[in-house]
């Protein structure tokens, strides 16, 4: 793929970055704090799997509640904040105008974080709802919708006030995610919490919502980041870019149909899991286009590229894994087991989080105007998080396989089954500890880089001039 003519003379740090610095660093920073919180909870729930009496007499942290806390902190604390911060930044940059409504972003972010914190307290004291990814109690949900709408307004304004009429793929994905999430949340709340539907329609609606969180919110946010960063750091035009819009519409129109995969064999009409299989197979088309478009990331060096590349591969593997696991013959072995937890870890951690890490490594120096504070913290985080993610996915997958075989054999009792799973579960605990320490390193590095008073003594890095020279050299 030939390089486009790159005469990048613009300074790498623009007025757009400087102006949005505070609010966006607030979003990214609070995301990282929640990531550490959820890491602690992940470690705790992982320990509970091989030592069931661990913290059992603490009513706030029964395994069920701790799982819900971990998931909520991870998705609504970390992914929501970081994804929105990156999406706003990308929309502003591609729109070519400074972000408007930044006060709304700050206020919304404070409300959002307060809402998530209140939601976690609510779960811990026993107000948990029983729906996956919607466990936060009813009383914080309107606050969340309001807070997200406040923050999202800025993104939609940045998009509608863009300087160029033409849109780039990142903008489609970012705007769709920011616009759809409040609707998704409102629709799910309405049918599950405010006017609950009857019987098994509840789990059907809950899986629809959980699938929507993935396909209409998190995946588009991650793809917005990838589509932006891949040409930025590789300097190449996206291969077969004219197909990108097909990939976009496939994700939006098909992606949210496959929630029924989590109800296979259950008390729902046969067409719901069948529809999920069909949707997952059609989604392969999306993954194919993503693969063709974003293969330009290969052969690019640097921290950002390493994270984006890993996340990109994990995203594709996740798609194929979901497709295979949606078939009933496969689900007979994997359903109800930790294998699904492994797939979730692959999707939410391996794909989305890694892409966000890459985005953060790329965005923060531009937002602060300074390079990251410590190279060794970066490399420590990079290797620890890589090891942690790979090992935890593998360990959960192996444990899930053993669990699936155990469940299928009626002669295997539950203590026997746990006996077979104990080694991979211990390894998973170790991996969660590694992940937690990795993310602590990132948080420390972020705080050192982002807080102005810690950086005053250091010389201004020169890398952004290097960027311009580099562009000329290529």
């Amino acid at each position: 793929m030939p390089n486009p003519p790159t005469h990048a003379t613009t300074a790498e740090v623009t007025a757009i970055d400087t102006q949005a610095r505070g609010p966006l660093l607030l979003l990214l920073g609070s995301g990282l704090v929640w990531l550490v919180v959820s890491g602690v909870l992940a470690l705790l729930t992982s320990i509970q799997l091989h030592a069931p009496q661990f913290l059992a007499d603490c009513p706030q942290l029964t395994h069920g509640r701790a799982q819900a806390l971990r998931e909520t902190a991870f998705v609504y604390g970390w992914l929501a904040n970081a994804g929105l911060g990156l999406a706003l930044w990308i929309l502003a940059r591609l729109g070519g105008r400074p972000l408007r409504g930044l006060n709304w972003v700050v206020a919304g972010s404070l409300f959002w974080n307060a809402g998530v914190a209140l939601g976690l307290v609510g779960i811990a004291i026993g107000d948990m709802t029983s729906f996956g990814l919607l466990q936060m109690p009813r009383y914080v949900q309107p606050l969340l919708v309001f807070a997200y709408a406040c923050m999202g307004v800025s993104g939609v304004l940045a998009w509608s006030g863009r300087r160029e009429d033409a849109m780039y793929a990142s903008q489609w994905y970012a705007v769709a995610a920011i616009f759809l999430f409040p609707w998704l949340l409102i629709a799910a709340q309405a049918v599950l919490l405010w006017m609950p539907v009857r019987g098994v329609v509840q789990p059907i609606a809950a899986t629809w919502f959980a699938q929507g969180v993935w396909a209409l919110w998190l995946a588009p946010l991650a793809l917005a980041v990838v589509y932006y960063i891949v040409p930025k750091i590789s300097g190449r035009i996206i291969p077969v870019y004219e197909w990108a819009s097909l990939g976009f519409w496939t994700l939006l129109f098909i992606g949210s149909w496959s929630g029924g995969r989590h109800l296979v064999g259950g008390p729902v009409p046969a067409w719901i899991p069948t529809m999920a299989v069909v949707a997952q197979s059609m989604m392969l088309f999306h993954y194919l286009i993503i693969l063709l478009n974003l293969r330009a990331i290969w052969g690019v060096g640097g921290t950002t590229a390493a994270f984006i590349r890993f996340g990109f591969v994990a995203y594709l593997v996740f798609g194929v894994a979901e497709f295979i696991a949606s078939f009933r013959g496969v689900a007979a072995h994997t359903h109800f087991t930790l294998f699904n937890a492994a797939i979730e870890q692959l999707g939410l951690y391996g794909a989305i989080s890694m892409i966000f890490f890459g985005g953060i490594y790329f965005a923060v120096p531009r937002l602060t105007g300074l390079a990251w504070a410590s190279a060794s913290l970066i490399s420590g985080h990079r290797w620890l998080v890589l090891a942690g993610v790979v090992i935890s996915i593998a360990a959960l997958g192996i444990a899930g396989g053993a669990q699936g075989e155990g469940l299928l054999d009626p002669k295997v009792s539950f203590p026997d089954m746990f006996g077979r799973m104990s080694t991979p579960l211990l390894i998973n605990t170790a991996a969660q500890a590694v992940l937690l320490s990795a993310n602590l390193l990132l948080l420390v590095n972020f705080l050192r880089s982002a807080c102005p008073w810690t950086r005053t003594a250091e010389p201004t890095p020169t890398l952004f001039r290097a960027a311009t020279e580099e562009a000329h050299a290529s």
Binding site: P4, T6, A8, K232, I237, L246, T274, G302, A471, S474
Partner: protein, 220 residues
């Protein structure tokens, strides 16, 4: 590729500016319609793959959707989507009714032998296997006073089970339980039709008093 040999890990450089990125990609989309003037919604090879997936999806959906019926839970189901209620076997229904606590089984016992001296048997009873008219009336309205069954004398009271009684059984139920006792414990009499029960009940009108053996013997 434009990576320096020793990149600073603390900040990745960008190879293109945002303007270049936007412009060079917008140009690509601007190429439609293509050089030959045709507007292509989708390249041919992608269209081929996409059609293949649609075909697979459609076939799979047709085969395993259970006709989108709310009452089909097994995707292999190929029959009609509506699950018809199986016709009930009157003997099976009658057996359940017979065993309802406080009903027949209390006096006539699980083996249909009754209690000697107190309650008459149903097994080998000419009252059970004989006249349908009499049997239906006993079940509908009850029986009291002396009666001779299978050569032994009894004198007790049986409540009615028909509509208006404490049990308020429908004609279906009366027919089912009578059919049951007429073929159980070695009895070998024909079934009692629901219509027959209805006819008898209609003919007796609002009768609620229990029968006596003497009254019944006047009937065919």
């Amino acid at each position: 590729m434009s990576t320096p040999s020793q990149p600073d890990p603390r900040a990745d450089t960008a190879a293109v500016s945002d303007e270049t990125l936007m412009a060079s990609h917008a140009k690509l989309l601007g190429q439609q319609p293509d050089e030959k003037g045709r507007y292509r919604l989708m390249p041919l090879n992608l269209l081929f793959i996409f059609s293949g997936m649609i075909f697979f999806g459609g076939t799979y959906l047709g085969r395993f959707s259970g006709y989108f019926s709310p009452s089909v839970f097994n995707e292999y189901s190929t029959g009609t989507a509506v699950v018809a209620a199986a016709p009930l076997d009157p003997v099976a229904v009658g057996k359940k009714l017979y065993a309802i606590p406080g009903g027949c089984i209390t006096c006539h016992q699980p083996n249909g032998a009754g209690l000697p001296g107190a309650f008459p048997p149903l097994a080998n009873s000419e009252w059970v296997t004989g006249s349908e008219e009499r049997l239906i009336r006993i079940a509908l309205h009850g029986l009291q006073g002396p009666i001779k069954v299978a050569g032994a004398d009894y004198n007790s009271a049986m409540p009615g089970f028909g509509q208006g009684s404490g049990f308020n059984w429908s004609d279906d139920k009366i027919a089912a339980v009578l059919t049951y006792i007429r073929q159980e414990w070695g009895n070998k009499a024909g079934p009692i039709a629901v219509d027959k029960v209805t006819a008898v009940r209609t003919k007796e009108g609002a009768r609620s008093a229990a029968w006596t053996a003497a009254d019944l013997e006047k009937l065919p």
